[in-house]
Amino acid sequence: MSISAFNIFRISGSGLTAERLRMDTIANNLANANTTRTERGGPYRRQMPIFAEVLSQRRSPVGQGVRVLGIVDDPSEPRLVYDPQHPDADADGYVEMPNINVVKEMVDLITATRAYEANITAINGAKAMAQKALEIGRA
């Protein structure tokens, strides 16, 4: 059924999926905030999801939600921490730590949570409208 209330479900659903993925990358960044060894060598690099809009296939000018293009690494420099005892310390005693700011990750976490809630509010609004429409003519 191509009812527009169901269309909103699909659009907001894609937003929910996107925010969940953002949450996954934030969780992974926090989990690896002190990881100094990776497959590619060097410290862990902060991951960021890239979102793109989904264009309408039909004539409707309204877009059809969001999709994830991919996950990229934050190109900023690693943090240098002086810790000569660390097994990964260089000749001068500095360790390359991941370019993750835990405070920034926490802010992103709150943003992702609120964005998720906003999408759910949109779904509930669409549902409330559909249910109100069913009340037309009733009392």
């Binding site: 191509s2 169901f6 249910q131």
Partner: protein, 93 residues
Amino acid sequence: MRVGNHLPIPNPQRALGSEGAGRVFGQVLSDAIYSLNQDLNAADQAAKRLITGDIEFHDAMIITEKANLALQLTMAVRTKVMEAYQEIMRMQV
């Protein structure tokens, strides 16, 4: 949803002569119930897939909510039709 596309006003002569109008409405109702059944089956599947973990919470909730809304819509249409039918049956002959 454009009801007008699915419910053409039947030609009275044809409606009187055969069960033309009845078939059209029956088809619409049958389509609606088929669609509703698909939504309910999808909701059932979503609950199973949620338990096995290969679907996100929100996707399962959306599918269930969709089925719930489709059920309410179908029941609203059914109630309207039943009201109209009973109104006609109460008519003095």
